[in-house]
Symmetry: C2
């Protein structure tokens, strides 16, 4: 049995390059940017008026002039006007280009206007004030956003500004989530006493949706030959197979055997952790045609999580998430940590994923343990916000100690 860290290392050695695609920028929110976004021109692109008011030549004011005849109005979006008489002024609007032969803007609040003449009511006017100079923020060809980050609303704004109506982003993997287990019925069905409804596949679909991955789902009955035949095809059609269940020691836990027979190389089975110990991970370098990928040769990665709800959940956020992020070259965030709110003891030589509720106290992230009833207790996940990852080489975890945090909301 390997450690959780070793398992993660192996998984991160088996990433896949899903490729790059170009999509409309407004659909790219949440995608991973795959090109540096550069300024197409200076920002601002011209000497931009930054207050509504009047534009003058500072020289005239410096010589003691306080009354300026209004020559014209410079609106935002209009071609640049020229001040004809340098002792006159032009009314200017925020966002407008600064008129030629003017260099200073005085806001309306500090002037009086009467009969087409402006009187400046203040003594403090600075040469060049209230002008956002061309190129002050960024120069043409400056990199505004580096690639390999998730596109947020801020990046959408930048893309719009520089005219990137189409943007290169990471292609998403094709993922199939497969449930097994004859005790499972559909959500809309009424289970008999000994059946339960499918839930793990939908939890996984939702966890992947947070990564902008649209996963498909399938159910296979606990029949070895059916399992084998179907998985054989799935290995050709998908980049990633996520299984929930059928990896333990049960009579009908055919999965490791079937995957082996189909040529999927086992990287490990069982990890020193709770919950989620019987986790199986393997890869297949496939030569099959993949319609989804338009790649002739590809490999498929198989994450087979134990079927208990909390085990599946931990498996996805602890292993699949980092695997995906490395696959798309996402700049890795520092490992987030949170501070344990109360003493906790866990004796087995296993990494323990403690369910916690998060509180922010004056900038400290506090993790309050939410004890449920173990790996079967799905409802407890809804009461918590995150897992605190307690290392296997420690048994007493003290109030105030910081541990790695895996948030899921």
């Amino acid at each position: 049995m390997i450690t959780s860290q070793k398992a993660l290392d192996i998984i991160l050695d088996n990433t896949i390059d899903f490729g790059i695609e170009e999509i409309p920028f407004l659909e790219s929110l949440g995608s991973v940017l795959k090109e540096d976004v550069k300024a197409d021109r200076d920002f601002p692109p011209f000497n931009r008026v930054s207050m509504d008011g009047i534009a003058i030549s500072y020289e005239a004011f410096a010589k003691g002039q306080i009354d300026f005849k209004i020559e014209n109005i410079q609106a935002a979006g209009s071609e640049q006007l020229t001040l004809k008489e340098h002792t006159n002024c032009i009314e200017v609007m925020t966002g407008a280009v600064l008129p030629q032969h003017t260099d200073t803007v005085i806001p309306y609040e500090l002037v009086t206007i009467e009969n087409g003449v402006v009187t400046i009511d203040t003594k403090t006017v600075n040469d060049g004030q209230n002008i956002h100079q061309q190129g002050k923020d960024r120069k043409a060809n400056d990199v505004l956003v580096k690639k390999n980050k998730i596109i947020s609303a801020a990046e959408i704004g930048v893309l719009a500004t520089v005219g990137k109506s189409m943007v290169k982003v990471a292609k998403q993997p094709s993922v199939l989530i497969i449930s097994t287990g004859d005790e499972l019925v559909e959500v809309e069905e009424q289970p008999t006493a000994y059946q339960i409804r499918k839930s793990n596949v939908y939890t996984l679909v939702s966890l992947l949706e947070r990564l902008n991955i649209k996963a498909e789902t399938r159910h296979i009955t606990d029949d070895k030959s059916v399992l084998k035949q179907k998985i054989n095809q799935f290995l050709i059609d998908y980049d990633v197979l996520l299984f929930s269940g059928a990896v333990s020691k049960g009579k009908f836990d055919f999965l490791p055997e079937v995957l082996n027979e189909l040529g999927v190389e086992k990287n490990f089975h069982k990890v020193k952790q709770r919950p989620g110990k019987p986790f199986w991970f393997g890869c297949k370098a496939s030569l099959g045609m993949s319609e989804q990928n338009e790649k002739k040769c590809k490999s498929t990665v198989v994450f087979a999580f134990p079927g208990n709800p909390v085990s599946t959940f931990v498996g996805c956020v602890k292993y699949f998430y980092p695997w995906y992020k490395k696959s798309v070259d996402l700049v890795f965030e520092n490992y987030q940590k949170a501070i344990l709110a109360e003493d906790f003891t866990f004796k087995p030589d296993l990494t323990y994923f403690l369910q916690v509720k998060l509180e922010n106290k004056k900038g400290l992230l506090i993790a309050v343990p939410i004890m449920g009833n173990g790996s079967g207790d799905l409802a407890n996940l809804a009461n918590a916000d995150a897992f605190l990852e307690l290392p296997s080489d420690q048994t007493e975890f003290k109030t105030g100690e910081a541990f790695p945090l895996i948030r899921y909301r």
Copy 2:
């Protein structure tokens, strides 16, 4: 001019009830739950085997018996079997119902099987072990998830488990985002020297998408009569109008005047903050028919943000976000805080929204100032993660002090 806190108070006094709708549970990720989710039966719904192995009657083992003949196999999803001979055993799989007349499960790892007979290889067997007792996690009718929280993957799993294939969630407001300003051109257009591309509307669309709101967008030219005619119709058709620009003192900043003429009551104009001072907010109690809402009488709320990119951005996350959350009765998270990483000075009597990059150091949220070039510097938003809200009654902000945090990624 009012304070930022007063502005927020006024806004939160003008929330709208958008109503409730029922949608397929798998589409509800990110929505606000509008019903308590109850357990439809006990969890687990039966005495559930939690290890693959054999089920016995503990009494037989207690009497010294270690060899048990296998009578049958109890698979997950199969009807409950009955142990006929109480000195025999039944093989049981994880997830299966515990067979009648058995009460204890011994995992395969601790037994040897030969010729249909199991020999128990351990002395430590506890009465009732490895059984997840019916109702241990939750009892039928227990509330598993309370309403008024955002549905995450964990809640999706709970909804599936209890058979809520349709779930009640908050209806979303109909929102129109309107840009004004004749200097603006479309993203795919090549602007002339004195024009710029539209970006604020797309930033706002993306910020609203994070709340699962699908907003529409429109552009109106700087023409008072056109503006008036169009806005008149928008006030009938939408719950919320978000404007960017045309609220300042410019000659073509018709918006406050037009809104006033259309009967939108001004709650305030201008807030003691930087950036985003000329923010205008008002409401109209309308009697018009709203097709979107199927409500005969409704009110429309108008957020008119200043047109600078950072001003618009701050306005949305500082005011619209809390307004939306209160409107849908979202349980308010505690005001998050972060710790300032370096000394900062800001003298004006204004709330200052400082752009910061966040770091997590051993559970402390550290805010590192990212100084841009003011409210026009959109690219700086892409370098930062959040705003730190520095109060107006303070001018020196010291390293290590915690201040309210508004994250946008």
